[in-house]
Symmetry: D2
Subunit: 355 residues, 4 copies
């Protein structure tokens, strides 16, 4: 079966853009049709324009593609446009694409808080696609729309929280501490002098993002507006660690209702499944949540590549002396935590007939 949907990639030379290329180079539904980057890169072959930093080489048929400027006219033939743009330029460019009636899946943070733009983690809240007709009417588009995916750390967090909320009712409080990989900062990103034999206990804007994004993603929607959680408080501390890929998060949870047992938590996490899986999407993980019961897992280097990097691995579920339970999770920050979310979101949209 040949791919049927033409896709474009904005910010194709960046770290997230490179991941889009690896995920889409050999995809059953999408075929890479256009690559966009800054005016400095436009006109060059992709191979010349990019500082490729992936452990797999540039796919042959992509290397020679000529990079285009990020204007909608150059992407008019694309059924889907993926954006890995930096936030300083994503705002204007993505809006121009949306207003040109294009379908945009963005990894940038710019429109995540927008009242008509869904913020979707593909194994959590694909129900929020229901707001697209309303979004189209607001922006006066017939087929274009704009979907954002969440911050990498938020994405890892909300998958098990959704499973717990579904199984045991509302969460009263969540305390989360992240240890985030350097690839999350892009390239050149974190200077090595800052992170070798070191930890940086601060990532600009990250803690706030985790705190409010969680409420929007785990909340409902009535087709016209989102209904963020009101009664779940989240407190986040975010740190940068000397790890290439894979964010580790330590989470404590207090339930609004009576707390489940540790075993009930394990079972609820294990049996959790998402619409993306039910729709048999190509990039959907086999398990939305992978349980590892070894006492010292998950670990970034050993677990980040599991299930195509689209799962969240959870371990060390145990009682919390202060809240009810605590556990550790791992998410591949540049796959499910970034480009992989966008791609899987787009696959769901295709399966739902939105594209």
């Amino acid at each position: 079966m040949a791919p049927t949907k033409k896709v474009g990639i904005l910010g194709a030379t960046g770290t997230v853009g490179q991941r889009f290329i690896l995920l889409l180079a050999d995809h059953p539904v999408f075929t890479i049709h256009a690559l966009g980057a800054s005016s400095r890169s436009a006109g060059k072959s992709y191979e010349k324009a990019v500082k490729w930093k992936q452990a797999r080489p540039i796919p042959d048929h992509i290397a020679s593609m000529v990079v285009k400027p990020c204007v909608s006219a150059e992407f008019a033939e694309c059924d889907v446009v993926f954006s890995g743009l930096d936030s300083d330029v994503a705002g204007d460019i993505e809006m121009e694409f949306l207003k040109a009636n294009l379908v945009v899946f963005s990894n940038a943070k710019n429109y995540r808080r927008e009242p008509t733009v869904p913020l979707i983690v593909p194994t959590v809240n694909t129900s929020h696609f229901d707001l697209i007709p309303h979004q189209r009417s607001v922006y006066g588009q017939s087929k274009g729309f704009l979907i954002t995916n969440a911050n990498c750390s938020t994405t890892g967090l909300v998958v098990p929280l959704k499973a717990l909320q579904d199984a045991f009712g509302p969460l009263k409080a969540v305390m989360v501490h992240t240890q985030q990989a350097i690839s999350g900062a892009g390239y050149p990103g974190v200077p090595s002098l800052d992170i070798l034999d070191n930890i940086v206990p601060y990532i600009s804007g990250e803690e706030e993002k985790m705190e409010w994004e969680t409420a929007k993603i785990l909340g409902g929607s009535d087709g016209k507006q989102f209904l963020p959680l009101q009664d779940t408080t989240v407190s986040a501390t975010c740190t940068r660690v000397p790890v290439i890929d894979g964010h580790l998060e330590s989470v404590s949870v207090k339930f609004a209702n009576a707390a489940p047992s540790i075993e009930e938590v394990y079972q609820a996490l294990d049996k959790y499944t998402s619409e993306a899986q039910a729709l048999n999407c190509h990039s959907a993980p086999t398990k939305a949540i992978l349980i590892n019961r070894n006492e010292d897992r998950p670990q970034p280097r050993l677990d980040r590549e599991l299930d195509k990097g689209q799962t969240v691995t959870v371990g060390r579920v145990r009682p919390c002396p202060v809240f009810d339970i605590k556990f550790v999770l791992l998410i591949h920050n540049t796959v499910l935590g970034a480009a992989g979310s966008s791609v899987l979101n787009a696959e769901v949209a295709v399966a739902k007939g939105l594209i």
Copy 2:
């Protein structure tokens, strides 16, 4: 002024023992008189017996000292014995020394829970030395006694918690997440394959230690028994990170009373001072708590050596959406977190006339 107190070091070839040697090699009060290690090392020169892993070389006058077996008869002339023994042997050896009427300051965990053994962090609870007369009577000793210092991570935590408790009354709940350096696991310790490009979210027994040690240290004493905190709950998550020295801890605190402002917290931490400082002990830090208001500090590589490694650096004090406040602290795990605590405890004991 020549040093006046002869000291012995048990477990002198281990990681903690090496730190004891660096801290004591040129000390105004203590002079190294005897080194003890396992029977495999006994009889060898220290230089031959040790795998020295410090960035400063073995002090010349120590290199040629002959290592002794860890029996009290060999240490009879010592005014103070420091123990850096592993817990699998520390129990029997330290008790044999105590019963030989020797003064022992131990870094091992074995007797920390013992009802008559003080668990002292030198910039926090030197008031617990008051229990020594009772301990002597229990063990029938005239001058010998046994003091333990706390786990490295606990030590970092209780210094600012004591300052907060003193200033704002009892703490209702504490959530702490540690990122612990590899030197805390000794040598050979953590295999490099486990920690390069990786985090291990588990350290055996560490979380429990932080949870109960905090209650004993921050609680009172009536001269006959300790009165651990009853109403402060602590929840700890401990992880191992690829950092040589320096444990970083992220802490959220809920006060029993009305919460202070962020600025009040900063000021309470900044003005906090301890008996060890008041007694002008040689190894006491200038500041028990060092405030760093840069948004991305403290950091292990940049801050661990400050104030001789005997301070705790605190930064990022900010509101916690779930509790009252949260902050980040750094402790040098092998100085204040281990050997440095024992040495400073012994200096306090000398200043108090107990030795």
Copy 3:
């Protein structure tokens, strides 16, 4: 096509053994039939016996296999036995297997210098299989034989040296400096305190191995004995670096004859091909030598996984002010540098009808 040859793996729980399992778990010719390890592991399921340290999980059908002791009677049904044993036990065990008429491909160093045992790098000197009839006669075996593969660093070195020797005649002198990954030392292997923020400029026995193995591998054979190079001197310096996988080597070469141009060297390396490739062996790389002309390549993290880890990447070919040319190479030390060599050697032996 179902696999037709049953294989056993000795030392199956070690680092090399784990790689054997990943390479053989889904192989078109070989099927894993028996796993052997120390008496401590024997009788346990593989999953229980192993400390699995690979980024891919244990294959499902292997996890439940029961580990056997390393005695030939337990491996009698195996067509091929791969040995990832440590050298302290490999000598006796492999000889017992050979004398039981079994076919053994060993990664251990014990028999590499043996006059009747071929030391084969699969993309270099598979011609040395010609000595097997003679070896069988010496050991009185009808079908069993023993093949060793080379040290990981030697393996990386000899592939381009063979290409240069074939193209430009004998090499007069070779100076090589290695930067070797920690996985080469097994598990627990290198303590993290020795290698974080550090380099260890010494690996026991490694320099000597590189110096003499090169001569045996690049030399000829007359079917009765090997004819090691006499006039090529090799000087090696070996260091351990904080890299997970992938040995980097810097090489300077002086030719016996007139030196080729840099471009001639690139072309000779690029067009070099081996018998393993000609025989279409499953694990053979597409290119025995992969040229990367970027000025800062090869690099371990970016290039080690190329071509299934069975190629040697070469870059930075340039004039040497002292010798003729110098260049940099990269080899995946646990694939082509260890288990991958054994597996490909065995595939060649099957293709040649020796098994």
Copy 4:
């Protein structure tokens, strides 16, 4: 004794400038009088202008100094000016300072090849100060002059080479391989994504510098011109490794005359001493070369801080199968390899009465 010479530091906010400040903040001869940096920093307090990346804090009396622009008028009162400027601006600024009759000690590469500018490693060729009268006459200065120090890697190499040349006569060939710390690239310098779990086998321009600088430094001078070595060929390979500080170099040497024994080499290195030591300069090392006979030393993390970072540690002297001998050396790249050389050079100049 109060310091008597006022000094300025150009490029004071950079990595080398920060080292100058640590070395000079508490110096018996020099007192920091002026700090210069780019126009972006000029006018700010040093504390505000700098991104301080050292493990020791900014000295208190420096923190509040106001940064000046790098023009000679602002440094007119300085007896000595140290330059840690980047090479893209060092050329014009240093020349302007020289022509203003100021004394400049530069760490930049711009004038190292200049026929009238000495390139001095303080424990090697302070005899080259003899060319200063000639330099002054060429530039028409009465008291100003310009001295450069060498590249960090060259500096480490030439110290033992000088000892060998002095003891055993001319060197015929030198092959050197470096493993260079990230601090050598400044800040932000090497991106962490390039160097975690990785080696970069290329540093722009570095190999060429090592090859020609060695000839100038180890050559003579007749007071009017330098007489670089003609018959010593040097071949260098330079790599970047994940180490904070400390360059490790593996060296093979062929002597023009009969080769000494390994023991003779050790003794020649051990007894080597320099004019900087004879003059009792404050920053001179106790030993210009420190021998470490442990088989796995020197190592960056364990040996870089020895003797104030101003020594070169040498180990593993052994026969080279291709040349005569080989050995491993370690230099602290930002102390003796950069700012420490400049400071010690200036101390020598003061002792010689040139300032």
